[in-house]
């Protein structure tokens, strides 16, 4: 079972070239899950006890604001990861995540992996670099979205 998960970990683009030792450590905390279209993966404010990598399908990250309709701020697809809120306190999700179609995810128990990262800082640093890269890309995209570049572009 773990060998199968280890292969899945190694095949996921987010963990590309990770190496078998780290993949084994991660797969020991991981599970496969399927989420039906419309089903929520996480809810804003809930503890991020588990983080998720998209294997197949699509997940919408949503924000609710009182008096306004729900807004999708990003769509994650195959090869992407749902945020890094599991890495640092208070370990809570900052958005809702909803499957847009039948979606297969790799779920990783956050407490399990945090403990492994504390015990093995090489693993922790490797994961931190990957998550900081992903978070940086998402921050950059959010800045471009906030600029409303298409709203002001000339004819």
């Amino acid at each position: 079972m773990t060998a199968g998960l280890e292969r899945i970990v190694l095949e996921h683009p987010f963990f590309a070239d990770l190496g078998t030792a780290f993949a084994e450590a991660i797969s020991g905390c991981a599970r496969n899950l399927r989420v039906a279209a419309g089903e929520y993966v996480v809810r804003e404010g809930e503890p991020s006890d588990e983080f998720y990598l998209v294997r197949h399908g699509a997940v919408a990250l949503e924000l609710h604001a009182p008096g306004r309709q729900l807004i999708i701020v990003a769509t994650l697809r195959e090869g992407e990861v749902l945020d890094g809120s599991w890495l640092v306190p208070p370990y809570r999700w900052a958005f809702d995540a909803r499957a847009l179609e039948l979606t297969r995810l790799l779920g990783v128990n956050a407490k399990c992996l945090r403990d492994k990262c504390e015990a093995d800082h090489d693993l922790g640093y490797e994961l931190m670099k990957r998550f900081v890269g992903a978070i940086g890309e998402r921050l950059h995209a959010a800045r471009l979205q906030a600029l409303d570049i298409y709203g002001n572009s000339p004819a």
């Binding site: 699509a58 919408a60 990250l61 949503e62 309709q69 729900l70 807004i71 999708i72 701020v73 990003a74 769509t75 697809r77 090869g79 847009l100 179609e101 890309e137 950059h140 995209a141 471009l144 979205q145 600029l147 409303d148 570049i149 298409y150 709203g151 002001n152 572009s153 000339p154 004819a155």
Partner: protein, 284 residues
Amino acid sequence: MTFAYSTPPTVRTGDCLLPQPFPITRTRREAPGVVTIELAPPAAFAFAAGQFNMLYAFGLGEVAISLSGDPGNVTRIVHTVRAVGPVSAALTRLRSGMTIGVRGPYGSAWPVTESEGGDIVIVAGGLGLAPLRPAIYAVLARRERYGRVVVLYGARSPADMLHRRELEMWRRRLDVDVTVTVDHAAADWRGNVGVVPALIPRIPVDPEHAVALVCGPEIMMRFTIDALRQRGLRTDRIYLSMERNMKCAVGLCGHCQFGPAFVCRDGPVFRFDRVAPSFNIREI
């Protein structure tokens, strides 16, 4: 009807500053503040994908607007106009049966024929889809001459998407890979939310033999070009359409100067490596 996909017409010189009256045959609202205008030229009107016309709203002035229709159809001219100033706003208020002044076509063209034999990536942001639409028509008219054809389109929201019917038609084709992304959307949107550059790493092309055509706001083009380069495309295989304040359209007045180039005469379509030195100079 004749096809003019390969050779950009020579810019007329004798009457190049004299607008001709063209009747409007149809208008269509694309999105808030954006209208597509169809004109019936009095004679066959040949143009190449990427070129523009100067449109004259009588009594107000002229603006440069890209041709957004099918270059294979010389009996119908199509422009997609966004209301951003008094002239373009007046153009978006015109109706079928009215007349505007037209001179053109002007400027350089997308390398549609030159890109045959390889993959082609068309990246549009916002109103940037309008100047690229003729290139898409031209590529699809000779689809068998290309490898993979990828179209990426970014818009502000689903309501701001242009040319929806064509996008849906192209998306249904099995030989075109179309991805639309928006900056934000309501819960009923089933498509992608995010920025165009984020789509580039996953495009299914051979970067060694792919050509990219890019048009949109400059900041979007800047980060798209970065992403294309990271994907492995060389700078001499990336083309972009620049936007500047064009007045004469024939390289005389200097209003559209972009470093050593005039956008109206040397552009609007440039090969990226030829403008790269100017592209990141903020003062230009």
